[in-house]
Amino acid sequence: MTEDIPQMDDPLDIPCLKHGAMEGLKPFIAAPIHQEALGFPGELVPDWKERALEKMAEMAETNRAFQIYLDTCVKCGACTDKCHYFLGTGDPKNMPVARQDLLRSVYRRYFTFAGKYFPWLVGARDLTEDVLHEWYSYYHQCSECRRCSVFCPYGIDTAEITMAARDILAHVGIGQKYSNEIIGKVHAIGNNLGLPAKALGATLEDLEEDIEDETGVSVRIPVDEHGADILLVTPSADFFAEPHIDGLLGYAKVFHEAGVSWTVSSYASEAANFGLFIGNQDQMREVSLRIKKAAQDLGVKRIIFGECGHAWRVAYGFMNTLAGPFDFLDQNYPIPQHILEFTWDEIQKGTFTFDKSKNDHIRLTYHDSCNVARASRMGDEPGGQFEIPRNVIKAVCNNYFDMERDTTHESTLCCGGGGGLLTDDLMDLRVKGASPRMTALQQVTEDHGVTHMAAICAICKTQFSKVMPKYGYDMDSILSVHQLVSNAIILTGQEIDDAEDTND
């Protein structure tokens, strides 16, 4: 594996083109059972070509972004060096414009004058089964992170084209196993893991005990508590994976100290919404409606989302459109609210006592997660999604250093595992796609001795804990932001037992 890791001097080093470098790489195709559970045909339908073109025509008529983005590209090349998968693999089809062109070439052939009559002139091509499989491969080498869109003079967002292509593929019978299987579990059970209510309750009880063992204070993590004020919707990874769990402990301590009543729901025990990844609004809406139903059934006044990137995009940007209006919630609070907005508000009110030295063994940097950075916001001001997490980190951590500015904020690099690619069958791509981010991290390690990186996305955390060891870091070098909060917070009534750290 090591020989496959790209060597980069700078995170944004542009590779020479390596034609066909990632050709044929594809995630497992969804089995009929996982396709049919979402209402898609089980396997490639005989009239796939007609259906694919019909779907494409429908998209052009019902989605302005799709139509505009296919029409307006002038092939200026501004985006060609902006994708982390291109930087990490050198495969020219991983350049954003080239990835769009895989679909644009077909759109032109069937839906534009120039492509119908002069296909050779404008790079138009027929839709064949080979093209479908090329789509399947390269549209699953895009994490829908939108970095290219920031740099495009027309704002063309490859994520929209990727989503459209995946939706077309699913509609003719070629869906992605990883995403579709997971969406099926959410419909059937309520979360990506397929963790049933009982197991969830038991897990959370164990975590309550862990907190009490650690602090001597009884902190609750309530499930399905009717009449609670706040419904916490968080990625199910927060219930079982590291470092996600430590973030969940942080939310619990924060809610406890703030003295609010809250609960998680076993019915909507998932913030993630993979309907976004497969580009299907109906699926995305169904998952969103579960959250609305849970909020109504439990009678909560507020909905707060835990640390999850794409979930926050859907919640912040789409939930109101898909499942709203949310007029039954307390309108004095943002709907929905991000856990970091909540924590930062309380920090400003002076609710918490922190011992920042508890994080002194950590020299930290922060990875802006793509969907939070480029597709949503926190707070009232533009850019709040960058300031608020950093403010919280600096309130609980003494040693903080930003990575190179070209790789943070709106220019942040994807972790390499977003957009439905966090599956072992794409590990090669994930490792290579992470290399720009890892190179930026290595720079701050060299310059400032940075040891850890924090993130606010379940996918980022899982991806980094897998790939960081390949770049010379321990797998627990990736942290949840609320894990740092959890480390530093001194709960009311907590015994300050460990005097051993105080005099070094």
Binding site: I68, I156, F318, T321
Partner: protein
């Protein structure tokens, strides 16, 4: 004869340009935007969006952040082109407006800057491996076409002068649906023929980036999803929004 051919050519080209563009713009405006998808840095208000678009159109802000070479060539080309186009108003107006008269020298020399910018963009299509890869024949031809328009125009201005008074009389006639004579000057005929070609292909080519820019949801939507409910395909309240 020549006058009639070119007159017809221009009437047809103008009709195709206007009708074609109008149809495209109508389509763009009527196609729904099911979700709110502004991309950072996104303003939270309508005024903010207008300012953002102003910076994009006038300064090519995103392109500047992206790639300084493409920005330099592209910006010089486009801004020079506006000057050149404005200068050409003198051939369609009588009396010539004061500001058009004033910009004549600037517009004239902008012609060189325009061709230089285009040449830079074209050179990149050959020299930069990534851009060579994404270029189709039409991308090369589009640059060739506009360079030829600029080149033939500059030739008439600086090398082989045409009877510009006769040309202006012809154009003023066209505007009043009177078809006059056109000088049989090869550079003039090439210049006008290529301009008509450009007008005709405008609505069916990547030149649609000009109107398209103003409809790109990632740029023209305000980031206010939590404050204003964006109604997409579902209103969830039993009313119909169309």
């Amino acid at each position: 004869m020549l006058g009639t051919i070119y007159a017809l050519l221009f009437y047809v080209a103008t009709a195709l340009l206007v009708v074609g563009l109008a149809m495209k713009i109508r389509k763009y405006a009527r196609t729904p935007a099911p979700l709110r998808i502004p991309v950072t840095p996104s303003p939270t208000t309508r005024t903010g969006v207008i300012l953002r678009m102003f910076r994009e159109v006038l300064f090519f802000e995103s392109l500047f952040k992206s790639n300084k070479w493409i920005w330099a060539f592209g910006w010089v080309f486009h801004m020079s082109m506006w000057l050149v186009l404005a200068r050409h108003l003198r051939y369609f107006t009588y009396d010539v407006w004061g500001w058009v008269a004033f910009i004549q020298p600037f517009g004239t020399y902008a012609g060189f800057a325009m061709v230089a910018g285009l040449a830079g963009l074209w050179a990149r299509r050959f020299l930069v491996e990534r851009i060579r890869y994404i270029s189709n024949p039409s991308d090369h031809l589009m640059l060739a076409l506009i360079i030829a328009i600029g080149g033939s125009g500059l030739t008439m201005r600086f090398v082989a002068h045409t009877d510009i008074i006769a040309v202006k009389a012809f154009m003023l006639g066209l505007l009043r649906f009177r078809i006059g004579d056109l000088p049989a000057d090869p550079f003039l005929l090439i210049h006008l023929g290529l301009v008509a070609t450009l007008m005709i292909i405008f609505p069916i080519s990547k030149l649609l980036h000009a109107p398209g820019l103003f409809f790109a949801p990632s740029r023209v939507q305000a980031d206010n999803a939590r404050d204003v409910r964006h109604v997409g395909r579902w209103d969830n309240e039993g009313e119909q929004h169309d």
